[in-house]
Symmetry: C3
Subunit: 267 residues, 3 copies
């Protein structure tokens, strides 16, 4: 790949069907698995500590999401993250609900300390919390935060040597050196439960085949955002929108991606 | 609000986006979250005992559903119910499967003893069982019961100082003094798993913004019932019906509510 | 029933609404419940060990699926399987992910040793693994396996005195004496998460009313396969396909079944 080419990554997913291992929340677990499958990947959701190492050994990426965390479940996540680190498999952490409770903050901290996290993903208030900024999180939905999100993304990425994704009206992706805005997307995404979790799974699927994780995250956000725009045109409300989102993602092609991509370098 | 106005409650949900905390079953958890979101609320599903108090502190109502109960899970429910009681936040208990097993009966009893439940909701046989009537429950689906449901609702409501909701062909809502029939609804609701659970989440969302819990329950049942009627007109079977139900609920407005509402005072 | 008549079995489900008890995975649990309901049955998903015996006592079949197994969860499965054996209620075991990890292999072995399993169901590599053949399983998705699947199905069926179902492009069903190909189905089934799990629930629902378990499994696969063919004609991608699958299954009738059935005796 001479230059960064999103349709090529998507094509690689469809051809190689990478296994994407999840330890995720119980609310959106089906949609997380199904969006991986829709992209062409092969989802596995497994959390028994006794089998995590073997599952990770056949996976190409690991997606962690603390939406409905318990202490035991996070212990399984730690095992998965470390098994992945050892095998140089990328780990995506969705810091769902960061800032909402002390338990979440503590467990996110523990996860990041315990094993290398390759991509940290959340909405503005969640990522700001992980970065140590004092902001208020109202549940798992994004809150308006009046802080410099570019600075937050870049400094957290540098500090943790990872890629940081902040989702919102405009998504932000940074590896600490390069930072991008992805301006694709549609407002209906905020009217359906689990679209944030699905984004993490899409990122995990792209990261399973694309070693440059900044490019993987960008490709994932661009494709998901474009699919949401096309789906919105075909839908009568949030439920038909969600159905169309999966149908469109399944059929997404180079023409649609290249004609609609709104990627902007920040610095 | 001079008089009881359902569209105004719906409007308040959409404007204030109340957090509705759930400890619910693992089968319909996504639909429960998604229906709150579709109405304009902000669902949280969290059950780790270590964070329940903090989650309740940002919530405006708590919905409990024992569909896939375990002993530990009910302990978390107790913590949530008591935390809500202390903060004067309404607690809705869906007595899913009451009467099917001794475990369910005992745990419902414990929950009601441990903390104040503001709204008890179930189908005819479930609520009759909670009220101490001897009826047979075949699984989690409603059974025909040849008892006086109005009397059951009223006496249970008085005894527990709560609002009682009995769902069925005609829904019954009572606070022990006033009792209403809601005659909106559609038969396709019985062909889709989780519509009963969703009703509890809709009630929880209305109760999050409307202090008069009798009115909150009535408003929820009227809106859900009307949405089901409109959705049925647009669908080819239970799956397209379910999709339409969410789309319609998302766009429900004063005109549709006022022209279709079938509310009847019993006494 | 003079001769084997699939529409009659379907009719019996719709008339008697049998309770189908599940201990299944957390990913597809909703779809498993919902497909039983769509067929006309009454699903129960309950796993607390304290109530399993009472749940089984009102059930007409038990479906076990180890997709997201834990050690505790398999203990509950054992209780359910034995309770069902005692009551002569058929037990269906979906050996989801067999071969992927030692934990899965060991737990499947334990389940089959602990109580009689009436129907073992999996894809080619899963069932081959259970039958002791050395094949590689890549996650929970079917792998190409270059072994004689007819021989695998027949020998496993004989060895365990059960019916064996191997799903794939052509499904295979054997009781050790008689073996059939079911050639209904559609490629889109492989693009949606959970269709394999749903098949097990459909088999469980047919087995709840049809004592000849070979016929029950065949009937289930024929109906599911035909529904998928009709659904594919109506859909724009995997998500609209899935919705149509449920709608079509709900309305499936004798004419559609008899005109489309592709059942072939192997020996």
């Amino acid at each position: 790949m001479k230059t960064f080419d999103i349709p090529e990554i998507l094509d690689k997913i469809r051809k190689t069907k990478p296994v994407v291992h999840h330890l995720t929340n119980w609310v959106t677990i089906y949609d997380c698995a199904n969006i991986v499958k829709t992209l062409g990947g092969s989802p596995i959701m497994a959390h028994a500590p006794e089998e995590i190492d073997q599952i990770v050994s056949i996976a190409s990426s690991v997606v962690l999401n603390i939406g409905t965390l318990t202490i035991d479940f996070v212990e399984s996540m730690k095992l998965a993250a470390r098994a992945a680190s050892i095998r140089k498999i990328p780990v995506i952490l969705d810091v769902c609900g960061a800032g909402a409770t002390e338990l979440r903050n503590r467990k996110i901290f523990e996860l990041i300390e315990y094993a290398h996290i390759d991509i940290i993903k959340g909405n503005a208030s969640e990522v700001a919390n992980v970065a140590g900024r004092k902001v208020f999180t109202k549940g798992v939905d994004s809150s308006d935060v009046s802080i410099d999100l570019i600075e937050v993304a870049e400094s957290l990425a540098k500090q943790k040597s990872c890629v940081v994704v902040i989702t919102g009206k405009y998504d932000i992706v940074s590896d600490g050196n390069k930072t991008f805005y992805i301006k694709n997307g549609h407002g209906l995404l905020t009217c359906v439960v689990g679209t944030g979790c699905m984004v993490s799974s899409v990122i995990g699927t792209f990261a399973a085949v694309e070693k440059n994780l900044l490019n993987a995250a960008i490709g994932a956000l661009v494709c998901f955002g474009i699919a949401s725009e096309i789906a919105a045109e075909q839908s009568k409300g949030p439920a038909s929108f969600k159905m169309a989102l999966f149908d469109v993602l399944y059929g997404l092609d180079r023409e649609k991606i290249e004609s609609r991509m709104k990627l902007e370098k920040v610095k």
